[in-house]
Symmetry: C2
DNA sequence: GGTCACTGGTAATCACGATTTTCACAAAAT
DNA sequence: ATTTTGTGAAAATCGTGATTACCAGTGACC
């Protein structure tokens, strides 16, 4: 069964083909678009026969899922590694690091955010589930760092779950915008904005306005004017 | 040519069919998913023949684009209307209003955020362009309000463009999460988080940390590990 | 009441792309 | 040197769903 061919073990050849298919998939999905990419095109670009394709993947979506996972895993690995190095640093430095490494990793290649935040959206329930899992992981990560900051007294002690989710969304939005722009936006600005937003979101006081809490949920759409807002002291 | 049927003018009948097709599209796209919805299914649910379908729309995507536009337009109309009512209010109240109305409008029906932020993503270049246009509009809106706040002295005077984009992303993320959750997250919490994040992002000082500016773009990814790197080389 | 215009529904048609199968070959093994 | 086995390329199959063409019915107008 297993027989060395052309000097390389069959597993190796297999792995190579798989790798080439993934590379081809990344390229085509992010240029032609996932929907409009045909399996045969992926095979052609990868120099792999359709038969071999089905040896490695069950479908086009399978390739997409794999890529999506890989990109997220790569980013997470980088972030984790870097965070370990600054284990003793103060909380805010850690948060900045987390962010910088994330942005740096994912902007190395515009195809990564494109695949992650555009092509892999709304494709199938499975992919949506996978997305959820990753949002969760990233949100946990951020929430954990925020709590750490709270312990150190530089942020209020509160539940950071939703804030973290919103921050993940903010990053997604920025990166989606970044990869879509033709004269690409400067990466530094994206990173700076993301960092500033995260820090201000985490360090913000529990009540931003004193009216906070009276409004909130309800704010009916019809309800007319509500100017006035008497007696509010402005936060600094 | 034009003849009244069943007591209604042909244009009316036409408009009705169109409307039913849109309703059916909204329902199916957000349950079955856009990709897996067949034109015939939309027609069946709308009680419209395929022939009539092609009389109104050129493709399934056409329906999606129309819905995407409608939802955004609806939200924008509500927001604009409400904002007009509080024209004289202080800047922060206006911002809160903007947000509350937006959230209230779009959470009336979970299918709206689902369609807008999941199903309509990565479908085609046209739809991506349309998405860009709307992000732009919303971002301008937010940036304008932020500038207003700056004029009133409750926020620093600076360029709010990227902040606004990030905020749009935050909202998108929150709403995407909201519509995905089975025991749905309480709308008030989503709204509260969004508002708090927006206010803290707008009111934040220009430099959050003193180290700000030394870090930023660079944050090297540590030349060491880059195993997975799913992006080999550029296309020909 | 009869004819005509327009309608909705159904039944072909048609194209495209995924999946399978075949084929001829190349490199190992004996 | 011959057989064997894994291989890649190409061709055949197969299904699905978009698009078009047809048919029978209904209400409107004379």
């Amino acid at each position: 069964m297993a027989r060395t061919y052309g000097g390389v073990a069959p597993e190796q050849r297999r792995a190579d083909r798989r790798q080439r298919l993934l590379v081809a998939g990344l390229e085509l999905f992010t240029s032609t678009g996932f929907r409009h990419t045909k399996i045969t095109e992926v095979c052609a670009r990868a120099g792999v026969s359709t038969r071999n394709f089905y040896e490695e993947f069950t479908s086009k979506e399978d390739v997409l899922r794999t890529l999506h996972d890989q990109i997220n895993s790569l980013a997470l690995a980088h972030v984790t590694a870097e965070l370990d190095k600054v284990a003793d640093a103060d909380a805010l430095t850690r948060i900045s690091t987390l962010l910088d490494v994330f942005i740096a990793t994912v902007t190395v290649d515009p195809r990564m955010p494109r695949l992650n935040y555009v092509e892999a959206v709304g494709v199938s329930p499975e992919l949506e589930a996978q997305h959820q899992v990753w949002v969760d992981r990233w949100a946990n990560f951020i929430a954990a760092e925020a709590s750490r900051a709270a312990e150190h007294g530089v942020a209020p002690v509160r539940d950071y779950r939703l804030t973290a989710i919103a921050l993940v969304g903010a990053g997604t939005g920025l990166l989606r915008e970044w990869q879509a722009h033709d004269p690409p936006l400067p990466v530094e600005e994206i990173g700076a904005e993301f960092r500033a937003m995260m820090l201000s979101a985490i360090m913000r006081p529990e009540k931003i306005l004193d009216i906070e809490g009276n409004r909130g949920a309800s704010a009916r759409v019809e309800e007319s004017s509500r100017e006035g807002d008497p007696g509010g002291h402005r936060p600094t």
